[in-house]
């Protein structure tokens, strides 16, 4: 028997979530992640962009005991199970911060801002955080 979510549910749109803030200082990163998880229920074409300080959301080794906040970075590793596999990270933003792909806790596609811009142009909906 097919599961309800395997049935055809109409047109698929392209949704891009653009993440530009480091985690913890503001609520943007966590809010974005929660909306992304919810959006997974709607079977849409979802992609995540990490640019500017947003690349720090994916930084390995986040330890939040000292600031008394929940470390939500392990949740990015759950995205694959939610069939969200398009994670794009700006090469420039990594380099400006002395980071490389090895510093990130999930598999991503590192690309230039102009490549990301072209993907952005191609979206039905862009959600900005």
């Amino acid at each position: 028997m097919a599961e309800p979510w395997e049935e055809d549910e109409g047109p698929v749109k392209k949704f891009m979530f653009v993440n530009r803030k480091a985690p913890y200082g503001t609520i943007y990163a966590l809010e974005s992640l929660e909306v992304v998880l919810i959006s997974a229920a709607f079977d849409q074409d979802v992609s995540l962009v990490f640019v500017d300080d947003g690349v720090y959301q994916l930084k390995k080794g986040q330890t939040t005991d000292g600031i008394g906040m929940k470390n939500f970075s392990p949740t990015y590793r759950a995205l694959e199970g939610y069939d969200i596999e398009k994670l794009y990270v700006s090469k420039e933003s990594l380099e400006e911060r002395g980071l490389s792909e090895d510093d990130l806790l999930v598999d991503v596609q590192v690309m230039s801002k102009s490549e990301i811009a072209d993907l952005m142009d191609d979206q039905d909906v862009v959600l900005s955080f």
Partner: protein, 102 residues
Amino acid sequence: MTMLHTVNKSPFERNALDSCMSMANKGSKILLIEDAVVGAVDKNTHAEKIKGAMSDYTFYVLGPDLQARGIDEGNVIDGVNVVDYAGYVDLVAETDNVQSWL
């Protein structure tokens, strides 16, 4: 596809405008709203960035936000279009999607 990019932070405080211009494709529209309108003032130290990018983008600034901050429309950089809220809505309606540089 044409995109509208909105920026709402002052260039004196944040890099939102720089980030926007480092990523927006040519032909995009860029609308300055809220505190970002201070960047639209001619002769401010960030004005050259906008002037230098006029061939790549069309710039807009939200009039009510200029007025709220006591900025005379006559002091806005030549070529930056002042729009009201209805004009903002038109920009959103005539572009394919919107990215907000917060």
